[in-house]
Subunit: 294 residues, 2 copies
């Protein structure tokens, strides 16, 4: 997906928040803002992929401010909060008829995608969002997804944020119940509040999944030029991929899907909502066939 | 005044809003955002004056979007609303003891400075702000100002925003009552919601002041490299200047004051508040002596 006009603003808005979270030293803040605007001035163009420059922004600000993980506290809090809610959500999935359990797990995990901070105009309140649990998906390919899940299906789940990843365990549980072998990928280093291996451990994902790997990169979304050989092998060798969150949509829609791929996310901004032809603040479960790109 | 770390963000935030107000054409919006980020990437530096690049932003976006005056409607509405409130404010000033009338007029006009749009986190609601009419100035040099106003004193009032300029007529009235000859300057062309000659006419300023001139520039604040010879003659030939709003503070603190100069504004953002050593959302009436600069 290419940038919308709002992306330049949003990327800087989040950069501004990151700078404020990273240092109280005003000179360092001005230096960071100067470098960020310079980078955006060079790289924001009509054919830019927003998450690519979003990841660049996070790296640049780490380097200048010295703060490696400005969302560390918020990620820990998100995990704790999600784990408090998880038993209720597990019950919710378990009480569904067997045919609706995967659907329910997808829904909970999709709503969990609201846990993202500093997006202009976005409310990250998961308790509030869960009030809409009975709202259907705006795009609902959950039945199509189910047809791809059989015994020994190799499934790859690309996670998005900390906190949210607790709810992703519900998807993994259902996929494995249906016989799939599930690999879960987290990020290799901090980028915004994206889940890391420590988050996968904190919420029990490392016990739920067959294995948890990292993308090999400290970037939001997936940029195959940056991800590790291990990750790329899984990416190209899976039977089905579930990609959570907007950054995965932004980056993976740039390349042909290596297998059937479900985009599972909440539309939290106008450009992504436009690109997927949906309103903002709705739940998306869009399955694209192998070879599909935007 | 030089940029704070927040200025890069704010200037782009307002640019984003201007783009949205100026055109619905997404391609044109992306083109405008690209050019804006490029310009900021080149010109935002630790020693940049925020209003200089703010003015550059407005010019650039005019050129690309073709919209010459994105705040035209809001300016008209602000004038109308201010004129509705003005009789009550005139009464408020008139009921003061003579010694307090100038002070009261300065206060009303200062609170009128809240009428500014798209400043991150700022509330432009004048009715709400006027509830604080009895709050004192955080920096109050009104008594000092009064000592400079005598018969035939040449006073220059640099206005800021449309709407607000209606309340500025109260200052002009008091200065003239004290015998001063008052020249009022508005902007020569649109920049944000800054008052133009048509606004001065709409609110009766052209009748209240001895004369109304323009700065000769379509820029927020005053940049003497851009202003007209007529304006510069008044600027350098006055006995006292009252400069309204943050952009005048940002730009005029870069040069020695040509005469005693009162900065009259509301602190609507952190960098300006820090620079004047005050909290945000307070009223400032700071008089600086001839020759003073930041």
């Amino acid at each position: 997906m290419k940038v919308g006009s709002e992306c330049g603003y949003c990327i800087l808005h989040r950069g501004h928040k990151i700078i404020q979270r990273s240092t109280n030293d005003e000179k360092k803040r001005v230096k960071a803002m100067t470098a960020l605007l310079h980078m955006l001035g060079e790289h924001y163009k009509p054919d830019t992929v927003p998450s690519y420059i979003g990841a660049e922004r996070c790296r640049l600000l780490k380097e200048i401010t010295g703060c490696q993980d400005p969302y560390a506290d918020l990620k820990t809090k998100s995990n704790t909060q999600a784990l408090e809610i998880l038993p209720r959500m597990t019950q919710y999935v378990d009480k569904q008829p067997p045919a609706k359990r995967l659907y329910a797990a997808l829904k909970v995990a999709c709503i969990g995608n609201v846990i993202e901070f500093d997006v202009p105009g976005h409310n990250a309140d998961i308790q509030e969002a869960l009030k809409g649990l009975e709202e259907s998906f705006h795009i609902d390919d959950s039945d199509k997804l189910k047809k791809f899940i059989k015994k020994d299906t190799k499934a790859l789940l690309l996670t998005d944020n900390a906190g949210e990843i607790a709810f992703d365990t519900l998807i993994v549980r259902e996929l494995r119940r249906l016989g799939a072998h599930v690999t879960v990928a987290v990020k290799a280093g901090p980028s915004l509040n994206d889940a890391l291996m420590e988050d996968a451990e904190a919420v029990g994902m490392t016990k739920e999944a067959d294995q948890v790997i990292t993308t090999g990169a400290d970037a939001i979304g997936v940029n195959l030029a940056e991800t590790s050989e291990e990750f790329n092998t899984h990416f190209h060798g899976s039977d089905i991929i579930i990609a959570k969150g907007m950054a995965n949509w932004e980056t993976l829609t740039e390349i042909p899907a290596p297998c059937p791929l479900m985009y599972l996310f909440r539309t939290k901004c106008e450009p992504v909502a436009r690109a997927v032809a949906a309103p903002t603040n709705v739940n998306i479960a869009k399955l694209v066939p192998k070879g599909w790109k935007l």
